[in-house]
Amino acid sequence: MKSSKKFLAVGILILFLFATALAACTTETSKDKVEDKTKAVEDSKDSETSKDTAIEVDIFQFKVEIAKELEAAAREYEKTHPNVKINIQTVGGGDDYGAALRAKFQSGNEPDIYNVGGPQDVKDWMKKLEDLSDQPWVDLALDGILSGVTVEDKIYALPFNIEGYGFVYNKAIFKDAGIDASKIVDFASLESAVKELDKKIKSGELKDKYPLLEAVFEYAAKETWVTGLHTSNSALSQEFTSSLEAFSADKVEFKYGDALKEIIDLQVNYSSNSDSKAKLNAVDYATQVDEGIAIERVAIVQQGNWIYGGVSKIDENVAKNLDILPMPIKGAKEDSIPVGVPMYWAVNKSSNDADKKAAKDFLNWLYTSDTGKDYVVNKFFFIPPLKGYDGLEPKDSLGKAVKRYANEGKTMPWVFMGYPTGWGQEVLGVEIQKYLAGEVTWEEVISNCTAKWTEMR
């Protein structure tokens, strides 16, 4: 007993000494750093007096996938604009970005360029949004693509890119099962194809070639954005023609509620958890994509062109064989996929004029200059939201598929950006989970969600 106490005392003493020593060290090093920094600042001041005063553009953006490439693009821009310095900070994810951005603004350290997601964001951030209507890229924008960020004929943000989703399927599996995907143009043909494929999987016909294949679909009901935003959008985009219309709507009718149910049921009943649907509520993105379509465990998933990178890291051959089937809503558009803009670039109105000018110029350079375009298409793997990208085509299979639908005009808009804040994921997505768990009927889902929409407006 006694000796252990002594040990403890000695231990604490040593720890204490260590801590003070370390603290002393760090103060010294940090002092050095400060000196270095002031020196650097002085140096740069010397060199800059010859040019203009230095302009720093702070970018706070959310797309993790392009963080490195965007950094490279910024360095490229700095080469031709030596008086501008661009700092990029990236915080990923939907909710997290919103929270981080608020914290950033509250801290007084406001960025010059940041991201907004649609009408609700534009309304929330209105006091911090610079009017960008006079920018050269405005005339180049694809039809209707700026509607979500237009308020009283003024345009407040530049679209990142176009993304599209639908039923992403594995062409090779379809071919081996003898199903012609080009014949799938409406709900009936999709359903019969799914049934046929299901029969072949269950009978073990495809076992030799695809040993892991166990179901047609995998449906990530845990990710409420997959169900509450993306699935629901296919039906609600037939009710509202744009996110703006959804945003100003006082109520939602679920005109195609039954068709929505059918498209959910189809994915559920032919998933690997069809016999215990509640289990789908634990299926997340990784299970659906990385451990689903990428390893050929399932043949179809409801996802978009953004999964290409992840799938190709796991199996390049699978990634190359992916294509997109339409998301048919019975009685409405049956041959189209939802295509839209996930996020926009905005310029902070409260920044000083020089910063604002540089920020606008950088965005303009990135999306309209030849170097910038090369980055956008070939490094970010974006499908450009602007015209004038002739000769620069997306190179990945899913990007091509989205582009194909866009060229054929077989698209429906993304209206989920116009849902009341949190309604899509926290209300509809959650209600769909309850529906899968068997706690509520579909009619209750519809009535609850309709009531909540009105309440939240």
């Binding site: 929330d124 006091k127 911090k128 845990k222 289990k279 509520n281 949190g422 309850k434 768990a437």
Partner: protein, 288 residues
């Protein structure tokens, strides 16, 4: 006398200053915001009086559900954590060469961050449990975290696993401070092991129970990161605990004022519950 007062203020002032800056002032600001309709972006909050509180109490079913869920969780996890912790402490205070090794092993989970633990256990519950259940035909091991009850027990298991090692350390300290003479005397008087545990050990470690219960109770109520990473409230928000509910109100629904009101209610509840608990457990403590 004078110099001791001087030294008192020298030592107290820095920490008091920090405490006021980072705890007291934000707390009052938070209380102020709970009376406004602030959306967290621009500083144009309007005074709305008590309407946030009325909204929370009258209309917010989700908040009430998380309140009940949190209460249930706190009750169960306080029991399991302290029982396991005390059991482990008894185990590693016996004369054995493995004591130190075992203590480190039991304490280890507490050194891992809650977020990571949540993801690790998510994998265990959804993948490992599922495949074991599938292979052995034990259906209760399948589909964990996809129902409310498995989500609940998942959280309880995770928290017990993480916190009981920490409680064990507290109980070890208390157990070791019991003089051997007392136990020996009881032994000579013919008390068996259970009687000794009940009549000597437990009364004498009562102060440690006060601390242990307080820590587990407040930790279980305030649980956030494990909840976020293990279930994120799913399925259908039925395993959403209070902190997560408040966070989502603020950062998903952009209702900072409402979230602040919830936070104030939460603060008062936790304070009342833990203070009551301390009052009652203090009464049970005995002086040696």
């Amino acid at each position: 006398m004078k110099s001791s007062k001087l030294w008192f203020s020298v030592f107290v002032f820095p920490i008091l200053f920090a405490f006021i800056i980072v705890v007291i002032i934000p707390m009052f600001m938070g209380i102020y915001y709970s009376f406004t309709d602030w959306n967290g972006i621009v500083n144009d909050a309007n005074w709305v009086g008590l309407s946030n509180y009325v909204e929370v109490i009258k209309n917010d079913e989700a908040f009430m559900n998380s309140f009940i869920f949190t209460g249930k969780f706190a009750l169960v996890s306080v029991l399991t954590i302290n029982l396991i912790g005390f059991g482990l402490a008894l185990l590693v205070t016996r004369n054995s060469k493995l004591n130190n090794l075992l203590r480190s092993i039991f304490f280890m989970p507490n050194l891992i961050g809650g977020l990571i633990l949540g993801f690790v256990w998510q994998f265990i519950f959804t993948k490992t449990f599922d495949s074991i259940g599938g292979k052995l035909g034990l259906s209760f091991l399948e589909g964990w975290l996809s129902t409310t009850s498995t989500g609940f027990w998942g959280l309880v298991i995770l928290m017990s696993w993480q916190l009981s090692g920490y409680m064990m350390i507290i109980y070890i300290a208390a157990l070791q401070s019991i003089p051997d003479s007392l136990k020996e005397a009881a032994k000579i008087d013919g008390a068996n092991a259970i009687q000794r545990l009940k009549n000597i050990t437990i009364p004498l470690v009562a102060p440690a129970f006060t601390v242990g219960l307080f820590l587990t109770l407040s930790n279980s109520f305030k649980l956030f990161d494990q909840n976020l990473s293990l279930t994120n409230g799913g399925p259908h928000n039925s395993t959403q605990m209070l902190s997560l509910n408040i966070y989502k109100t603020a950062f998903t629904f952009n209702k900072f004022g409402l979230a602040q009101a919830k936070a104030v209610i939460f603060l008062i509840t936790v304070a009342v519950i833990t203070l009551t608990q301390i009052y009652y457990s203090k009464k049970r403590e005995v002086e040696m």
